[in-house]
Subunit: 168 residues, 2 copies
């Protein structure tokens, strides 16, 4: 027994993105209760040179989509970053979840040694599938989900750790 | 081929805690440059009812230590939460890393189906090893490392994503 590449990727992304969607729903309810335009929440930042909430959601969703596609050796659909409101961000997550659910375990399992090449600003970076998943994709994914949560907590949205962990 | 329980736990924790230690070092340098007592950084919070930086580091370190020990079926040493300064927090991470390095792959591999029982405020929670690692320990671990990073970024410490990802 051991962990399959599928188990350590797609179900982890699905659970965490579902939790992020519920967090955005609570943020929208909080904005409504405060009489705040929920679109302003999309522009929240923790530091002037950090990315806003919209980008945190885009990158979390795209990290999941890109990781699953790369491990499966297929091309992921491109989703343009046009969403502004919290409801639109939830729709972006929903279509990412729909895409993730099209990938079968058999497409991803066995990708441990598959070469993954990322085109970064600093140049091409070569990984094996397992190294890409464990040392790059998962840490990045959790970073952006957590930062979205932290931004909203900083704004006063009533959230707790169970919202982050999501349903099991 | 697949991922072993050891590969998906101890090396992930070691890399990320090492990155967190380097982040705290940059925070200490920033505090010194600003003429701020670095102990005040330990009390930074993103919201009045969120835990301060010290606790984020304690929980990140203890999640790693507790997860590795539970998967290995051994008792982890208890580390009291007495650290206050950034240098002390780095020492807490160092002793956690020392402990993690005492665990051999053979102790953790094969723990996929091992029963893990967590005593939470809400009552006992039962997991299999694989479910505990993927749906609870790793998400929690990354949450607290990221929140420590976010707290320091919010305070103005010059950090970037490469500091979070750490050396490969």
């Amino acid at each position: 027994m051991s962990i399959s590449m599928y188990q350590a990727s797609v179900p982890v992304f699905v659970r965490q993105l579902s939790a992020l969607s519920s967090i955005l729903e609570k943020a929208a309810a909080h904005a409504a209760a405060q009489g705040t335009d929920p679109a302003t929440y999309g522009q929240l930042r923790l530091a002037p040179d950090m990315l806003p909430l919209t980008s945190q959601v885009f990158i979390a969703a795209d990290t999941a989509k890109g990781c699953a596609a790369r491990l499966a050796g297929v091309e992921a659909p491109a989703f343009p970053d046009t969403e502004v409101t919290l409801a639109e961000l939830q729709a972006r997550i929903a279509k990412t979840l729909d895409y993730l659910k099209t990938l079968a375990p058999a497409q991803i399992d066995g990708s441990e040694a598959r070469e993954v090449v990322l085109k970064l600003r600093s140049g091409d970076r070569h990984f094996t599938g397992i190294d890409y998943l464990l040392s790059f994709a998962l840490p990045n994914f959790f970073f952006h989900v957590t930062t979205a949560y932290d931004l909203l907590r900083h704004q006063g949205v009533p959230l707790g750790k169970l919202d982050y962990l999501g349903a099991r």
